[in-house]
């Protein structure tokens, strides 16, 4: 992506640089945005399979609007029901912590300070926070300057927001129509969805080690803990490894 941005910029004349970078940002945003929005179908179907109604499913995509937390919430509810409510809430909230980090990185890029008051609009900030997710942050960070980054952030965020909510509704209607979700393999689809969210995060050895250890802990504690709790206990692995920076191959080499 970086190479292409550079090539586009050098191919264009000086005056066209800004336009070229902006169009690259828009192209990246739409490609990522549309690809991501499509899998709202799987969320909608899985949420209904977990026992949510169509309104509840759509509410999550409108307000929570962060895929990992949404999948996690319905995943824990699917295994433990309403009794696992607090575990479901805690898992969804902990998966949302990364959005705090994204928000801090995006704030200087998206804040449009009003020259008269010296302050940014509160509504713009709330809207920016609402669409701060993995994809909008990633597209913004991949751009070569702040103007293109701002464009990338907003176009990606808004494309996914609109698309994700439409596909969630479609998925919920499909899930509602098909009935027996196990016969359709939707439980396996949920596991595959989590794997898809995890996959791009496994580039570093430390992340891989944490993933394996967390999966083992969750599996071993499943027979002895209430449904929902094994996932929370496995989160301790991340805190321990992260605190002491264990398994850090970069430091060792």
């Amino acid at each position: 992506m970086d190479e292409r941005t550079a090539a586009d910029a050098s191919a264009a004349g000086d005056g066209d640089d800004v336009a070229a970078e902006r169009s690259t940002a828009v192209r990246d945003s739409l490609a990522v945005g549309l690809a991501t929005a499509i899998y709202g179908v799987s969320f909608g179907a899985l949420a209904v399979a977990a026992g949510l109604d169509i309104w509840q499913t759509c509410f999550l995509s409108l307000v929570m609007f962060t895929g990992g937390s949404q999948f996690a919430l319905v995943g824990v509810l699917a295994s433990g029901g309403v009794a696992a409510g607090w575990s479901a809430i805690a898992t969804a909230a902990m998966l949302g912590i990364r959005n705090v980090v994204y928000g801090m990185r995006m704030k200087p890029i998206v804040d449009d300070v009003d020259p008269a008051t010296g302050r940014g609009s509160i509504w713009r900030r709330v809207a920016a926070a609402w669409v701060t997710i993995d994809e909008s942050t990633a597209v913004a960070l991949a751009q070569s300057n702040d103007r293109a980054a701002r464009m990338g952030f907003w176009v990606t965020g808004i494309t996914i927001f609109v698309g994700w909510n439409l596909t969630t509704l479609a998925g919920a209607l499909i899930g509602d129509a098909i009935g027996d979700t196990r016969a359709w393999g939707l439980d396996a689809a949920a596991a595959a969805a989590f794997l898809g969210l995890l996959w791009p995060r496994l580039k570093r050895f430390q992340a891989g080690a944490v993933a394996v250890a967390a999966a083992v802990v969750a599996t071993l504690t499943t027979p002895v803990l209430m449904p929902g709790l094994p996932v929370l206990v496995a989160a301790v692995v991340a805190v321990v490894v992260g605190w002491f920076n264990l398994f850090d191959r970069r430091r060792a080499s």
Binding site: Q56, I97, V100, Y102, A129, G185, D187, A191, M226
Partner: protein
């Protein structure tokens, strides 16, 4: 607690976290250790969810059609097949095995 309570509390929590990033001055989470833990937390939770979703059935560990489905999904992700296709294929594998069994 009803399903709606769970949804409202969880949505309020995740939305509040997003707002914290944009409204509160940066600091704590920009330091290396908290940022690293936040990163690894996502990895650990997703990995644990995969394990429970693949092997769990209430409080039991069950090896069934989900396991081959997830193995196929991992192979497809390694081949860079798009998310939505992999999820659909995983469902098909599990559904197919159950239909034949």
């Amino acid at each position: 607690m009803t399903t709606w309570h769970i949804i409202l509390i969880a949505s309020a929590a995740t939305l509040a976290l997003k707002l914290v990033g944009h409204l509160v001055p940066a600091g704590f989470l920009e330091r290396e250790r908290p940022a690293r833990i936040a990163d690894l937390l996502t990895v650990a939770l997703l990995a644990a969810l995969i394990a429970v979703q693949t092997l769990g059935a209430g409080q039991e560990i069950v090896v069934d059609a989900r396991v081959p489905a997830v193995i196929v999904a991992a192979a497809l992700y390694a081949l860079r097949v798009p998310f939505i296709v992999v999820v659909a294929v995983a469902a098909l594998v599990a559904a197919g095995i159950r239909a034949l069994a």
